[in-house]
């Protein structure tokens, strides 16, 4: 049973693990890549609704996860596929969620949830899966949903690694400030001949400089960027280096330069958002997953807004007018979603001296 803070109840069939989880209810409109989404740390603290009705068709594969575990705290789908068919599939989605202790719900009218979120905004909610219907108390779930305040929690602290880890053996070194990074950011950097030092998001300037980095990547991650003043401060102190911010990293960069962010009504989550690169007039279809956006008016003079979302004109990218410091709100690393924006990694590599 899924309960929303406005009192709406959805009764469906449970899958995955038994248990009760509160989370912010959000939807993703991508028709592919459920495993990548489920393992994207940016979804920490959220219950995800898939708009595409048939989920689990191609099972779970070894090379699809974007982190070590499932980060959503609940998953709601219209129809769960119990008999996946794919050569790479090693298990069913149901089993995968069970192993990750994440509950899921299926056979519900997911489109009606999406329409509700679209009209009223993302919503605190609570999902409970139990063996017997009698075990579930709807009122309790609604109360739990009402009690939840997503923006009060520092999710980065929960998903950022404790340890530093190194990848690749390139001549040039980049430090990846991991606020909940997707694996493919690391892979894309390594692929381009870089040594990647993946440090906890809260690493100090001194710690970061100790690796003599040629550049900094600030990763994606969950939660409200306004809570991350400390990381923003660190980023500001590294402005002598090339910096590339992705998603939450972009928002952190905005805070670092005195800008502000605000919460979108229902965010951008999907693989079909058109983004215009203002300078070239090129349009890219982008992979997105964010609930907050940078307020363009708050960006200081020395930065310019380089990319805008063509659907709602929100800020999608910005760059320093003279220094090699830039950021985008969407996911050049894709996974899931289009590879149209991979060129940002090349652009970043070129900035490294």
């Amino acid at each position: 049973m899924l309960a929303l803070s406005d009192g709406t109840i959805f009764e469906g069939i449970g899958f995955g693990a038994d248990g009760m989880r509160e989370g912010e209810l959000v939807f993703n409109t991508s028709m592919f890549g459920y495993q990548e989404s489920l393992t994207d740390p940016s979804y920490a603290g959220q219950i995800l609704v898939a708009t595409y009705p048939l989920i689990g068709n191609y099972g779970i594969s070894k090379d699809a996860p974007e982190s070590e575990k499932v980060h959503v705290c609940g998953y709601a789908v219209r129809e769960l596929c119990e008999t996946p068919s794919h050569s790479q599939s090693i298990k069913t989605l149901d089993k995968y969620l069970k192993e990750n202790s994440v509950p899921g719900i299926c056979s519900i009218d997911t489109r009606s949830i999406v329409r509700k979120i679209r009209d009223f905004g993302v919503m605190p909610s609570c999902l409970q899966v139990a063996q017997e219907k009698g075990e579930i108390d709807a009122q309790k779930l609604i109360s739990a949903a009402k009690a939840l305040d997503y923006s009060k929690t520092d999710f980065v602290a929960k998903v950022s690694p404790q340890e530093t880890k190194e990848y690749g053996s390139g001549k040039k070194t980049v430090v990846l400030m991991d606020c909940g990074s997707k694996e493919n950011i690391v892979r894309e950097l390594v692929l381009r001949g870089l040594k990647v030092v993946r440090v906890p998001a809260f690493a100090t300037e001194k710690q970061i400089r100790s690796y003599s980095p040629d550049g900094i990547v600030v990763s994606n991650g969950p939660g409200d960027p306004a809570l991350l003043g400390e990381i923003a401060h660190t980023v500001r102190s590294l402005f002598d280096l090339p910096i590339f911010g992705i998603c939450l990293g972009h928002q952190i960069l905005a805070h670092a330069i005195g800008g502000t962010t605000y919460k979108l009504k229902f965010g951008h989550r999907g693989a079909n958002h058109p983004v215009l690169e203002k300078k070239t007039g090129r349009v890219a279809i982008t992979s997105q997953n964010h609930g907050y956006a940078v307020d363009g008016k708050s960006i200081p003079e020395e930065f310019e807004i380089t990319h805008v979302n063509l659907n709602d004109n929100t800020v999608e990218g910005m760059a320093h007018k003279t220094l090699p410091i830039f950021s985008i709100q969407y996911h050049p690393e894709a996974c899931p979603g289009p590879n149209d924006s991979k060129y940002f990694f090349e652009r970043f590599v070129k900035c490294l001296k």
């Binding site: 959805f10 939807f27 409109t29 991508s30 028709m31 592919f32 890549g33 495993q35 990548e36 708009t51 595409y52 009705p53 048939l54 068709n57 191609y58 594969s61 090379d63 699809a64 219209r78 129809e79 596929c81 008999t83 996946p84 068919s85 794919h86 050569s87 790479q88 519900i108 009218d109 997911t110 489109r111 009606s112 999406v114 329409r115 679209r118 009209d119 229902f266 999907g270 693989a271 079909n272 958002h273 058109p274 215009l276 007039g281 090129r282 349009v283 279809i285 063509l310 659907n311 709602d312 894709a334 996974c335 899931p336 979603g337 289009p338 590879n339 149209d340």
Partner: protein, 1092 residues
């Protein structure tokens, strides 16, 4: 290669020529009326003046309110050049009219016509088209891009081809270059098949080139629909998965959208490949790309690139709600994709990729119900005439809805034939797979036979498992004792609420459930309503609900929330205070029910909206304009069964429903809808019934003292012989219940009648055979009229060119008549009015007559729109379907400004096209069973020229010189001399088979005698093979017992693409037409000149 001009609109383009696709043929159907019409409207939005040319009058694009200037002329380079000379367009769009338009544009370019008249090719440039279409160049480019393709060769000679075949093992796939719908292509499993296909391919390819390709039969097949703008921005509109793996043409495959079995990584890999290719080719506008994917290894190959809008783009548009043609037309003008608004959300730009939150399934519709003798094996060449699409929230739901949208009778498939249909495969593959699962074949076995992904087979198994659960409710059914009924109401034999809901969520219809548990549809319906299991309607909005869309485009499903209730009062999708009228569409395109009916439905909708009503369209054909979301106020993409339509009626509570325009599909629903309380607009049920019920119709004619051919019915052979001998041969016989596609036949003697009854029909008390006197040597004609209940307006009398006995849908016809006396015409007008009034007609009516020795007999009356409505409307300049709609809404003829009869200013001839080339094994003989797929129109102040133009418009290569061969049946032979003399006088070499040659020679005309095939040389086959013959006139013997020789002659001419005339009257008229065409330069003229 001549230099290609820049295609970017520098703002100078103000007049654009759009080329249509001509008559509906297999492989090129209504989808190009959809794309052409959208393009015209889209260009006009940009302030462009649009000139449209098409030979097919049954198209919305040839309406003068769609394009600024309309030409109904043959789609041939010389005619297009004349139009270009006259209209002086500065741009041309070739990518909206299928392969026909693309080839024409290439030809005009190669001949220097475009350069000479300074016409820019808009959108995808010629160089890109050449790159994509020429298999050799394409292969070379792919190699350069590192895109894997299948080993192939573009062979220009048989030797090249054979060499390739030596190096690569069979099976090999052969496709002639530049043919539409894969015409002439096929799979060669051995040397013999290989040689056959070579021969055919070289004949058909306009460039005498055949692509031979290694086969990856069994790999999965995926399609991407793409758009690219002149700035290089690309988007994918839709990705689709062919449920049938490689080896079956995508037009013949069951298709699901979006792809179901691809991981994100695979999807992105194919999408990246598509972008890489579309950029390298330089497409500006729409493009379709097909990939083969080995789902075991993850290896893929590029199969095909279509640098134009296609059938798949129409499907993708309907599947996603994204108006591809509209956007592609603007891209052709040089607009960037983000500068165009998303017409669905009206707030977001067109530069996004639609996200679906439902499943779409498309199933083709094949003509084998009409042509049972056709070779039904599916392969790389299209045989289907149309398709049905359905939308659901589960695959099972979409699949079941699509299956019933096809409107085919459930086939009885013998167990021993299952494998043939499944593995072949044939058109019955999916029916057979379901049947096989029912009798216990495992999914593994089906997978081994077909290569179909287990995911889809599991879905089919889910369906059959649900069937057996429902069937198990009936304990008497021994077959299903294995399955246990989980049923709380087992006493009633009705499914429980839970089971019923589960079945509905899998798309089962009430009647399907009823059949399984041996109840009536009404009982299931009642149970469903009792349990409050009612459909909810969801919107197709391109964005999976992310934005508040304004598309009034719905599908039914069984979910929690119905969307209109949710947003009542918002947007144009919400109900208004206007009266609502349901327009019931005509479903998939099939022989006998083509685009003409969709045309009428669109017009009904336009008329309703103009008159201040809300039009509610129900239909399931993804190719057509009626299923564009802006054709009606609300579109329901639904099967056209009573249940599905009634559900919409219950939701919409319409003022009335229009059943006159959807052909047999909608008229068949009239009774049930009426009984369920839906008001029919126009002619009431009783009038429809009188016209359809033989007894009642006979009585009415008797009362009105209108003559009718003698007729009777028989319930067994003895009776049939008795009736036949009473009314005397020849007779027309037809079953009241059709099996295996054998319908009507003309029968000349007792023996034939015996054979017919034995072979073709099941005769019984409840299923009598109907017998009519066949009136020989007579003129057949028909009228289309509009009646307001007080008087009848005659749109025209259409005189058939062929003798009576050819199905009216297959006959060429002319209006005004050329042979019928004025007095007879006046009498026909009078009889028509009398009959229309007696039937209580309000709206459209079609009446067919046969006239012999000035005696007029009524053959049939149909108080509904006929397939000639669009043609006649274009001939006289009055939109008859709109007028009929207005009459149904209560307007009188004087209010509509109609009275008496409208005569056109010119002769307008309708000709037809046949699918014989695509359907091997089918004989080219016209009879009372309809076989044609589409039509063309030609108009001129002289009848002969109009006929000539119509034939050219129907893709007939009518020669003005060369050789003509006659092989005629007795009865025609005697009349041959004057025709042969005329051909001889015109400079033709005259050839004939011995009997016919004798008659010609006796008349003192020079003739070369040709032996029949197999009777030595020179014979007809060798003469045709040597290219000495450009026209074949072969009239077959009586009925179906055509001589093998005649059959071979006709097949040969079809395969050699030589016009074959099988009707003597048509041959006579054709000779006259060629004579006129030789003498006179033929002009082109705007459509209005037909009327004034």
């Amino acid at each position: 290669m001549p230099e290609v001009k820049k295609t970017i609109n520098s703002g100078k383009i103000s007049k654009v020529l759009v080329i249509g696709s001509g008559p509906i043929v297999i492989g090129q159907s209504a989808e190009f009326d959809y794309s052409g019409s959208q393009a015209c409207q889209s260009l006009r939005e940009e302030g462009i003046k649009v000139v449209l040319v098409n030979s097919n009058p049954a198209t919305i694009q040839t309406d003068t309110d769609i394009a600024d200037i309309v030409y109904i002329e043959p789609l041939l380079a010389e005619y297009l050049e004349k139009i270009i000379e006259k209209e002086k367009p500065d741009g041309i769009i070739a990518t909206m009219g299928g392969q026909t338009a693309l080839n024409l544009c290439m030809e005009l370019h190669k001949k220097g016509v475009l350069q000479k008249h300074n016409v820019q090719v808009l959108g995808t440039p010629i160089s890109a088209i050449e790159l994509a279409e020429d298999r050799g160049n394409f292969a070379h480019l792919m190699e350069k891009l590192g895109q894997p393709i299948l080993a192939s060769i573009a062979a220009g000679t048989k030797e090249q081809a054979r060499e390739f075949a030596k190096a690569h093992p069979f099976p090999l796939i052969l496709r002639p270059a530049y043919t539409l719908g894969g015409t002439g292509g096929g799979i060669a499993r051995n040397q013999e098949e290989f040689e056959d296909l070579l021969e055919l391919g070289f004949t058909l390819s306009p460039t005498r080139q055949i692509l031979i390709e290694e086969s990856v039969i069994g790999w999965a097949e995926f399609e991407y629909e793409l758009l690219r703008d002149s700035g290089g921005n690309c988007i994918t509109i839709c990705n689709m998965e062919n449920v049938d793996p490689m080896g079956v043409h995508t037009g013949e495959s069951v298709v699901a959208a979006p792809s179901q079995t691809l991981s994100d990584k695979e999807h992105q890999m194919l999408r990246d490949a598509a972008f890489c290719i579309i950029r390298a080719i330089g497409i500006v506008g729409g493009c379709n790309m097909q990939f083969a994917l080995d789902q075991k290894s993850g290896q893929y190959a590029v199969v095909e690139v279509n640098p134009r809008l296609s059938r798949s783009s129409a499907l993708a548009s309907k599947a996603t709600g994204y108006p591809i043609a509209r956007v592609a037309a603007k891209l052709a003008l040089g607009k960037k994709i983000h500068e165009i608004k998303n017409a669905v959300t009206k707030t977001t730009p067109a530069s996004f990729e639609p996200s679906l939150d439902y499943v779409v399934v498309k199933i083709p519709r094949w003509p084998f119900d009409k042509m049972a003798e056709g070779e039904r094996t599916l392969g790389t060449q299209m045989k289907s005439t149309g398709e049905a699409m359905a939308i659901g929230r589960t695959f099972e739901e979409a699949f079941n809805k699509a299956m019933r949208s096809r409107e085919v009778r459930a086939a009885k498939i013998k167990d021993e034939e299952l494998e043939k249909h499944i593995k072949g495969p044939t058109d019955l593959r999916f029916d057979s797979m379901l049947q096989a699962l029912r009798i216990g074949w495992g999914m593994e076995k089906l997978h081994a036979l077909t290569g179909i992904n287990m995911w889809f087979l599991q879905k089919l198994q889910n369906i059959t498992e649900m069937e057996s659960q429902i069937a198990a409710l009936n304990p008497d059914d021994a077959q299903n004792t294995g399955a246990k009924a989980q049923n709380e109401h087992s006493g009633s034999g009705l499914p429980s609420k839970g089971l019923l809901l589960a079945a509905k969520r899998m798309g089962f219809s009430d009647s399907q459930i009823a059949l399984l548990c041996k109840k009536t549809e009404d009982e299931i319906r009642a149970a469903r309503i009792l349990h409050k299991i009612l459909p909810t309607y969801k919107m197709v909005d391109t964005c999976a609900g992310e934005f508040d869309a304004r598309t009034p485009y719905y599908y039914s499903t069984y979910e929690k929330e119905d969307e209109r209730d949710f947003q009542a009062g918002q947007g144009n999708a919400a109900p208004s205070n206007k009266k609502r009228v349901l327009v019931i569409g005509s479903g998939p395109i099939r022989i006998g029910q083509g685009i003409e009916f969709d045309y009428c439905c669109c017009h009904a909708s336009y008329a309703l909206r103009a008159a201040g009503y809300e039009s509610i369209m129900v239909n399931n054909n993804p190719e057509t304009i009626s299923t564009d979301f802006d054709t009606s106020d609300r579109l329901y993409f639904e099967p056209l069964t009573f249940e599905d339509v009634m559900n919409v009626a219950e939701r919409e509570k319409p003022y009335g429903a229009i059943v006159q325009f959807g052909g047999q599909t909608s008229i068949n629903l009239a009774a049930k809808l009426t009984h369920a309380g839906v008001r029919l607009l126009g002619t009431q049920l009783d009038g429809i019934d009188v016209a359809e019920d033989r007894e009642r119709f006979r009585d009415l004619l008797h009362k009105l003292k209108i003559a009718q051919p003698d007729n009777g019915t028989a319930t067994n052979l003895q009776q049939a012989l008795l009736v036949a001998n009473k009314i005397t041969y020849p007779i027309v016989v037809r079953p009241s219940y059709v099996i295996a596609g054998r319908g009507m036949q003309i029968v000349y003697d007792d023996e034939q009648l015996r054979q017919y009854i034995a072979e073709a029909v099941q005769v019984s008390e409840s299923r009598p055979v109907l017998i009519d006197k066949y009136i020989e040597s007579a003129i057949e004609c028909e009228i289309d009229g509009i009646c307001d209940g007080k008087s009848l307006f005659i749109g025209g009398i259409m005189e058939h060119i062929e003798r009576a006995g050819v199905h009216s849908g297959d006959a060429s016809c002319v209006t005004p008549p050329v042979r019928l006396k004025k007095s007879v015409q006046q009498e026909i007008v009078r009889l028509s009015q009398e009959l229309a009034l007696a039937l209580g007609t309000i709206g459209a009516i079609n009446i067919q007559y046969v006239v012999r020795n000035d005696v007029i007999y009524v053959l049939e009356a149909n108080p509904r729109a006929s397939r000639t409505i669009p043609y006649l409307s274009k001939a006289i300049g009055i939109p008859l379907a709109k007028m009929a709609t207005m009459a149904m809404l209560g307007k009188s003829l004087p209010q509509l400004g109609l009275s008496g009869q409208k005569l056109p200013a010119k002769y307008a001839v309708k000709s037809v096209v046949f699918p014989f080339l695509k359907l091997r094994g089918v004989d080219f003989v016209l009879g009372p069973e309809m076989k044609s797929t589409g039509e063309s129109m030609g108009a001129d102040s002289e009848f002969s020229i109009a006929f000539y133009k119509a034939l050219l418009g129907a893709n007939q290569k009518i020669p003005l010189k060369g050789g003509v061969v006659f092989s005629l049946k007795d009865g025609d032979k005697e009349r041959v001399a004057p025709v042969a003399a005329l051909f001889s006088k015109m400079g033709f070499e005259v050839y004939a088979t011995p009997g016919t040659a004798q008659v010609i020679e006796d008349a003192g005309i020079k003739v070369h005698t040709l032996q029949k095939i197999d009777s030595g040389t020179p014979n007809i086959a060798t003469a045709i093979g040597e290219g000495r013959v450009q026209l074949v006139i072969n009239t077959p013997k009586h009925g179906k017992v055509a001589s093998t020789d005649g059959f071979r002659i006709r097949r040969l001419s079809i395969e050699k693409n030589i016009p074959c005339i099988t009707n003597f009257e048509a041959a006579q008229e054709l000779a006259g037409a060629i004579e006129k065409a030789q003498k006179r330069s033929i002009s082109v003229s705007r459509i209005e000149t037909n009327w004034q």
